[in-house]
Symmetry: C2
Subunit: 339 residues, 2 copies
């Protein structure tokens, strides 16, 4: 059994769900995949930190914060310090997304400089600085996995890299933001925007501040990440024009419904015949024959337009916390599992 030492930055819902999944599957990880994960450092922004040379198991980590204040014993420390002191094999970057992605980008670069591989579910580095972090990984001879930055653990980046050899992605389009999709479905059922957002928050599909979802910022970051990785683009989310649904009226949604249609926030990228890249996040109306129509609530869909395989669609039907946790779990297996 191979010990894999993990430095974990961020300990929110996703990191906890990953610890729970890894804990639940620890016997299978050891017996079938030959892996034992030991966490040698944990960093949070407000709940302290942990450094453990011997490492703790994910189950032990969860037990440590199951008490009253959910805090780790040591004070909050900068991510770079924790990375440098962690003596880990891999950084799992699970901090929240921030515009520009600066902190997460610095974490990735520090990890590569320390000889570590990286698994990130924070889309900042891929959306804002993919070439920079990829080049940093290459220079260090280390590996970077990031399946979870789009559609949770549903294969997108790995699908193209590992299952479509020799084919080129000419463009893509899809519904990639679960919050707005849930809100639009609730509005189709008759709610106004405020009530629909409240329903999404209650169901766990929207943050306390859903601004980044409603105004298209989250979707724009996903467009940039996909275009950078799958199409060799070098753009940032700032360069992605977007529609906001902040002022969408109930009447507009009702009118679409009356025509047998549904509203969706569509992400897209395409090269025109001159090679120029057109990207966007736009509110669209679709009928029952469109691939977006049946993509309801927390589902998401990506249509890849390829040269040799035509259009391929992949749909994540259940985009919930366990599926994001699986992204980290699967990326670690890809890095350290057998074969």
């Amino acid at each position: 059994v191979r010990d894999v030492r993990v430095c974990l930055l961020g300990f929110g819902h996703v990191a906890r769900a990953w610890c729970q999944l890894t804990s639940d599957r620890s016997a299978e990880l050891a017996d079938r995949h030959g892996l034992e994960l030991r966490i040698t450092a944990v960093g949070t922004a407000r709940h302290g930190s942990l450094v453990s040379a011997a490492g703790v198991t994910p189950a032990e980590l969860l037990a440590m914060v199951s008490g009253g204040d959910h805090s780790f014993p040591e004070p909050v420390r900068p991510g770079a310090d924790l990375i440098a002191g962690s003596e880990a094999d891999v950084l799992v970057e699970a901090t929240p997304l921030e515009a520009g992605g600066h902190a997460a980008i610095a974490h990735l670069e520090a990890a590569f400089a320390s000889g570590m591989d990286v698994v990130t579910v924070n889309k900042g580095p891929i959306a804002w600085a993919y070439r920079q972090v990829r080049d940093a990984a290459d220079r260090a001879g280390r590996r970077l996995r990031f399946e979870g930055v789009t559609m949770d653990g549903c294969p997108v980046y790995n699908l193209v890299e590992r299952c479509l050899p020799g084919a080129a992605v000419l463009g893509f389009h899809g519904v990639l933001n679960a919050t707005t999709n849930y809100v639009l479905d609730e509005m189709t059922d008759g709610l106004d925007l405020t009530a629909a957002v409240a329903a999404a928050q209650q169901a766990g599909f929207a943050e306390a501040d859903p601004g980044d979802d409603l105004d298209g910022s989250d979707a724009a970051a996903k467009v940039a990440a996909l275009a950078n990785v799958l199409m060799g683009a070098d753009i940032t989310p700032d360069q992605v024009p977007r529609d906001s649904i902040r002022h969408l009226s109930r009447d507009r949604v009702a009118a679409a419904r009356k025509d047998g249609k549904r509203l969706r926030v569509a992400c897209s990228a395409r090269r025109d015949p001159t090679g120029a890249l057109a990207v966007g996040v736009a509110l669209v109306e679709v009928g029952p024959d469109h691939p977006y129509y049946a993509v309801t609530a927390s589902s998401s869909v990506l249509v890849l337009q390829t040269d040799l395989m035509g259009d391929i669609e992949i749909v994540e039907r259940d985009g919930l916390l366990p599926q994001t946790a699986y992204a980290i779990y699967a990326d670690l297996l890809t890095l350290y599992g057998p074969r």
Copy 2:
């Protein structure tokens, strides 16, 4: 540049389309993937054979049969003889499917016994004898690829093997036969079965004898192949109960349409709580919220039910000859490409 020597059995539409694709992409294959394909033997059932120690390029092969009778210079020879005499690295099995799959199974076993890898787009061996051929490959230390036996080159087997590490497939369902799907769509537009089949034949979506499609045999073979590979089953197509659409009336289709629904031939497999496998090919009615509804004409869809990622759907929007040719192209790149 690495020479890969190919023994090609079958020279129908699929094999020709693969030769054309490989010929069109020969510069990219050499420059980007470091491969040059040379065909050292070709076998057909009625149009002669070819054995060439030096090998011919796919372009040269196409030129050889571009004349009047589309035949190769040498007489028809048994597949096993051609395999043994081909001194090839890999067998590309592209003969037509026959019930039981006996000839193709024998071809695969002969290839492994001769130290060759195998790429098959003939689903017979995977549907009728997957364990047998997989074990033959393992014993010989050779590799077997078969992405093209279901949904053409759309990733299904590779998706599970390479992109869902640590996850288990609990079941699946989908629309996997383009001929019946096309026929059902034509009937929805008002044709009776005979006219719809004629339309499918004219559009190139149905064989001269569409019996295996209409009576569910082709779909049953796909269910067996998927269950055997993805769920560790050991069944043959004979064990898959199936609905035939041979006697489907225009009225039945019209009634569904009146309810806002469409008919689809659904393939499925699922283990019940005792572990017993339930499989089937059934005519179903679906509404606009169902993933099958927008899967029209030559499209196909597979929904994978997994333990860790919930339901994942993959849709092949364009299931045409170039996409089947790509299956062979991609499998060869998987076997012999860099990395």
